[in-house]
Symmetry: C2
Subunit: 468 residues, 2 copies
């Protein structure tokens, strides 16, 4: 039996979807002012008030994390491993940005040394941002997928990834044949899926870059490996959307392309979904399929404003994660992603309040766009886990889940931060759920990676901020 | 005669409006790889290549700033001194945000001790962000205006500010009478305008909060003190815009309210202008009036997307500055403002490329929305100076201007930053204008206040980043 370790501190996590508790979002959260988490083999063996948990676990030695709020590790539902270095490239929308910046960089990842060095930098950046799980695109060269999983395993991190399938509209060094994709995916699934914490996603890059043959290869792979995930992009940019109409004349919309090939369903995630219609949202909801909302990227590439309030329609709720979409997104930090998600929500709120166009007024949808801290941290943790069908092992501090968490310093960051936060608790630690939520809101809208003081993976500290 | 000092380093500044050089933006910039700036009495006495300038100034001792790009100090055209502490308040659009968060905080600034302490924090935050000049709102209590100017004078910073006029739609502790506003403004102009580097702005908060009598008081003040600035808000939010229609039935649009009272003209700045019509942009252009573009705030309060490409129409160009609009904006850093400005531009670009609505296609306007580094740093420096009619003393390194500048570290910030920037120069210093511009672009879209390593005011170092 493994030795248990324990962490004492102030914990905040979500236990339900706050959109199910409109106006009473606290019901979806749990605040543990003086808490204790017992970890055994990387899994939460006990959790609750310090007084009770310490009584149940006599003699246990706890690491006491003081002056911080501990939240579950952030889950990034959509990120590109081979784009670390090209985050923030200049001046193009999606399709020409891919050609000018992304494909040339991704080709370098055929070199194992380059890919290995990049993997170290990628996971360092994730941990410094408080992200403990990601669903990642690699490249169409298996070397990059292998190096990605290798580095994740060395760090014992829960990740989802897979070889990228693309067989048109890309340079020669990037396209691969559906047959190669099929064979290599099978080999990689055998080698990596469910090995340690690694999980495999069948990964058609995006339908516009895939022929029917490539999409059929994905269908076959999912049929033969139903336990695997599927990860792709959808409806990111209006020009892309128009292209999809031309390329798939037999499909009445972009989602139908995925339905036609049997891909839309549980454990399917499509990044973006900015331009999805109401009907497509409903079909995602019915299918149990997920969207990864990538506001940093959607603003950076000018893709548009994702309709949060529509996706959270209580009659047709769509499973949502947050994605940094590095390098379309210009930062690794899900705190920065939350900031931009908040802004997209407020912009939508204004468009729906009737002040711009009275015919588009929808006050309930307008309200659902507003990311209070409960909704925000839900998306970054438990909501992301649910969207990825990983809530049995991730997303909050329930006993039996994996002990990935982040200790947040609410005063770190820009010069004005400490004084701002002192409005909430007068400089003291938060003693109520409401105070904790307000400090967490301060972090999500005024903060960044500097607020991540420590990141723990499977019960071990994997990152500590320098100088703090 | 004062002793001269000198700074040696790599300098980048703008000498013209890059929108006048579409596709050849380098013509608007100046890159000095090994430069020397000689400062006498806070003013640039000589500037150029080190070899030449050092020959012209024999025996001068220079501070050598290595591994940095030195740019002119940032100019924030729109910021609220009494909102330091409430930056990032939750969940409302403009009008209810003012009532719930802003007015209660601003009332505290009637207490001289509170206002003085806040002024210290405010200028500390500005300098840490690389901002050396701002045009600021204070409150409707003269105490806050006095403390603002007092602290600016102690730091020898070039600032514009004034007592805020508001006489309706605000709590009792915030509204003041037009008569009180008139008398106190005259007193404050006498006491502070052109004393040291302080400049005074007649400051009607926003027309919706001002009766005709208040606006007439502003007209009289401007007639009696034509050297003073005017600072206000316009067309920030659609509900505000609709309210203005109701409150000013004799004015056919929001701009007309300012025309009616004789305020629109040189040295007039209105923050936001998100919802200005094409015709209003043309009238701003003709009048020589300026808009301060506040993208952090416009996204944070969901106000909307400012039409950069329309405001930079070559036939009717409007003078533009950038504004953080703290606390509507959620950061002091103009680097973060540039990031959001870039994003707003790209979102506009997509809306105008014909892919969404072919009837709204305008490829030239679409292109003008794209903030390359020349355009971005122009807005933050020389463009801001021109919009405020301060380009005789600020905005670039021309001899005779005031020596306010910032030394930027292109590698600082999020974990991925250094490797990202190494794509441009392989880890070396920039040797060409293009390399410098690309590193500066990396800062503006992936960076934040951490990239500000040193801030110099009137030839003296006023800020040095801790631990760097």
């Amino acid at each position: 039996m493994a030795t248990a370790s324990a962490i004492r501190g102030t914990f905040f996590d979500l236990v339900d979807d706050p959109w199910k508790h409109v106006g009473r979002e606290q019901e979806a959260a749990r605040f543990t002012f003086d808490g204790l988490m017992v970890v055994r083999d990387g899994v939460i063996a006990d959790f609750g008030d310090y007084a009770e948990v310490s009584r149940r676990n006599p003699g246990i030695q706890a690491t006491h994390i003081k002056g911080r709020v501990i939240v579950p590790g952030f889950i990034d539902g959509h990120i590109h491993f081979p784009q670390v270095r090209v985050l923030g490239a200049y001046g193009n929308q999606l399709l020409d940005w891919l050609q000018n910046w992304i494909f040339p960089e991704e080709e370098k990842y055929g070199d194992r040394n380059y890919a290995r060095g990049a993997a170290g930098r990628f996971f360092d950046a994730l941990l410094a941002a408080g992200t403990t799980t990601c669903q990642a695109f690699t490249t169409s060269n298996p070397v990059s997928t292998e190096e990605f999983f290798g580095e994740a395993a060395r760090r014992n991190m829960r990740v989802i990834a897979g070889l990228t399938g693309i067989d048109r509209f890309a340079p020669e060094g990037t396209v691969i044949s559906p047959d190669f994709f099929y064979r290599e995916t099978k080999r990689l699934i055998g080698e990596y899926h469910r090995k340690g914490r690694n999980l495999y996603a069948i990964t058609p890059r995006f339908a516009v870059g895939c022929t029917d043959e490539m999409m059929e290869a994905c269908r076959r792979l999912k049929e033969e490996h139903p336990d695997c995930w599927i990860n792709t992009h959808i409806s990111e940019n209006p020009t892309e959307l128009r292209t999809s109409r031309l390329e798939f004349p037999d499909c009445h919309d972009y989602t139908a392309v995925h339905e036609k090939h049997g891909l839309l369903g549980p454990k399917f995630t499509a990044g973006h979904g900015v331009w999805l219609s109401d009907d497509e949202f409903r079909r995602f909801s019915r299918a149990g399929a997920a969207i990864s909302f990538c506001p940093l990227s959607n603003l950076f590439l000018g893709s548009g404003l994702f309709r949060i309030g529509r996706a959270t329609d209580p009659e047709h709720p769509v499973r949502l994660s947050l994605g940094s979409d590095v390098g379309g997104g210009n930062a690794f930090s899900l705190i920065r992603v939350l900031e931009e998600a908040y802004k997209v929500g407020l912009c939508n709120n204004t468009m729906l309040d009737g002040s711009v166009n009275p015919r588009e007024q929808d006050m309930a949808e307008a309200e659902r766009n507003k990311l209070n801290p409960y909704r925000g941290y839900y998306l970054a943790t438990l909501g992301g886990a649910r969207s990825l069908y990983l809530d049995d092992v991730l997303g909050n501090f329930d006993v039996g889940k994996e002990a990935d968490f982040v200790a947040l310093d609410w005063n770190a960051g820009q010069a004005a931060m400490g004084w701002h936060q002192s409005l909430i608790t007068g400089g003291n630690v938060p003693e109520t759920m409401d105070q904790a939520a307000q400090l967490l809101f301060g972090i999500m809208v005024c903060g960044d990676d500097r607020n991540v003081d420590e990141t723990w993976v499977a019960g071990r500290r994997a990152y500590k901020k320098a100088g703090a």
